[in-house]
């Protein structure tokens, strides 16, 4: 008889403890989140998380995504890099970059330092407009300002241009700045929230794959760590048999988890790119890149 009583009381005790724990956890949660976002601290914590998770990996190797996650993949990547499949897109981008528009101007006139070696400063927060400006958006705005039709954000021309601009910045560390403007802090926080928010019927967030399980496989692909995940953009993916811009990567990731993608360069994506680039500050640009 007493055995039975113990069992019942044990259950009571356990359920009470559980309720308490849930309450406590719930209580702590809002207290921490109420503080204003501190990007610098976030970036430090973000980097520490990954360097502790992959202690043997050199910091700059994170930009190689899945290829830094296992030896067999790394060898296949090195073989491809001898004569990388993005070579054609890079040459096309270089040619397009120097060809003047109908009005005689060219991309060099739209960008600081004639557009050479500046990719690491994008995206930046434009205080006049109060919004994040990404490289892809700036390129299309330059075209429109010179009477040229904008390119699709997910197709080859945009990939070729960004490939060339990335190439001219190879090795330069990401240098994303968040000005004191509260709207910049808000854009950064929107990007961070998007990154951690679960979406789509599969109920994944970017973090579910790229923070919780980098290096592991999801179906056929080895997942890249979130640290330095945009450094190699734009990428030639064997999967696509062609080039892909950051816009293409964001929209396809959404549909893979059965979420309806937003339009390329919508505010959410621009803020997401702002957050992801900021927390990868200091890591070298390695674009254009090849990926599985």
């Amino acid at each position: 008889m007493s055995g039975e009583v113990n069992v019942r009381s044990a259950i009571h005790f356990a359920s009470a403890a559980l309720a308490l724990a849930v309450l406590a956890f719930g209580a702590i949660q809002p207290a921490v989140a109420a503080d204003t976002p501190d990007p610098a601290a976030d970036a430090k914590a973000f980097r520490n998380y990954f360097t502790q998770k992959f202690p043997k990996l050199k910091l700059e190797d994170f930009v190689n995504g899945p290829y830094s996650m296992n030896e067999d993949m790394h060898r296949q990547w090195e073989e491809k890099e001898q004569f990388p499949p993005y070579d054609f897109s890079l040459d096309m981008g270089k040619e397009m970059f120097s060809k003047p528009f109908k009005n005689g101007k060219s991309y060099a006139d739209c960008f600081p330092n004639k557009g050479i070696g500046i990719r690491q400063n994008y995206p930046y927060f434009d205080e006049k407009e109060g919004k994040v400006i990404t490289l892809e958006l700036a390129l299309n705005r330059c075209r429109e300002a010179n009477g040229e039709p904008p390119f699709s954000y997910v197709k080859d021309e945009m990939a070729a241009l960004t490939a060339y601009m990335a190439f001219t910045s190879r090795g330069k560390p990401f240098d994303i700045k968040i000005p004191g403007d509260p709207r910049a802090l808000e854009a950064y926080q929107n990007g961070k929230r998007y990154f951690y928010t679960r979406r789509g019927q599969l109920n994944f967030s970017c973090a579910t794959c790229h923070v919780q399980s980098p290096g592991e496989r999801i179906r056929a692909e080895v997942l890249a760590p979130a640290l330095g995940i945009l450094n190699a953009m734009p990428i030639y993916r064997s999967e696509w048999g062609g080039m892909g811009t950051i816009s293409r990567r964001f929209t396809t990731c959404n549909s893979q988890i059965r979420g309806v993608p937003l339009n390329p360069q919508d505010d959410e994506y621009r803020d997401l790119e702002y957050y992801l680039s900021y927390v990868s500050n200091g890591l070298p640009i390695s674009g254009p890149g090849a990926r599985p």
Partner: protein
């Protein structure tokens, strides 16, 4: 999960279409063979060998003899291909006077992927990137001094490279 039921018919339809398309292509292949004009243009091109299904038939059609396994043929291929559409494969050999190197993928729709003619003075090694339909054996064949030597390695493929 209620939603899976409406996925299932879609995938079944795709598989049926897939089967039909392969049959269709098979037909296309035969008609293809009948067009001598193409074959004549580059008679050295081993038309027949590229149409054989199995690696054994392809080797016989290409060289007219069978290969014996040899450790003098080195085949460098990944454990798990990052993507079946782009599998880096390299073959080298220490055999003397190599005249030809061929690479076959056993379970591809057509086994023979590539065949290289090595004139005297050219080193017996070649690297390239090929497509693999699924996990299967990659066979490297080297013709040296009139005899055939081969080596085989299984390459795991998680995403089929032939598409469709």
């Amino acid at each position: 999960m209620t939603t899976t039921h409406n996925d299932f018919p879609a995938t079944r339809r795709l598989i049926l279409q897939g089967a039909a398309s392969v049959a269709l292509v098979g037909l296309g292949g035969i008609a293809f063979g009948l067009a001598p004009a193409f074959a004549a243009a580059n008679d050295k091109y081993p038309e027949e060998a590229f149409k054989q299904k199995s690696d054994a038939d392809a080797i016989k059609s290409l060289y007219g003899k069978t290969a014996e396994p040899s450790d003098k043929v080195k085949l460098d291929a990944p454990e798990i291909a990052e993507n079946g559409a782009v599998v880096p494969i390299s073959v080298s050999s220490t055999l003397a006077d190599v005249t030809s190197i061929s690479i076959l993928v056993a379970d591809n729709p057509n086994a023979l992927a590539a065949s290289y003619k090595i004139p005297p003075g050219t080193m017996p090694n070649v690297a390239n990137r090929i497509k693999m339909a699924k996990t299967t054996n990659v066979v490297a064949v080297v013709e040296a001094g009139g005899k055939l030597y081969s080596t085989t390695k299984e390459v795991k493929v998680t995403v089929g490279g032939c598409g469709g």
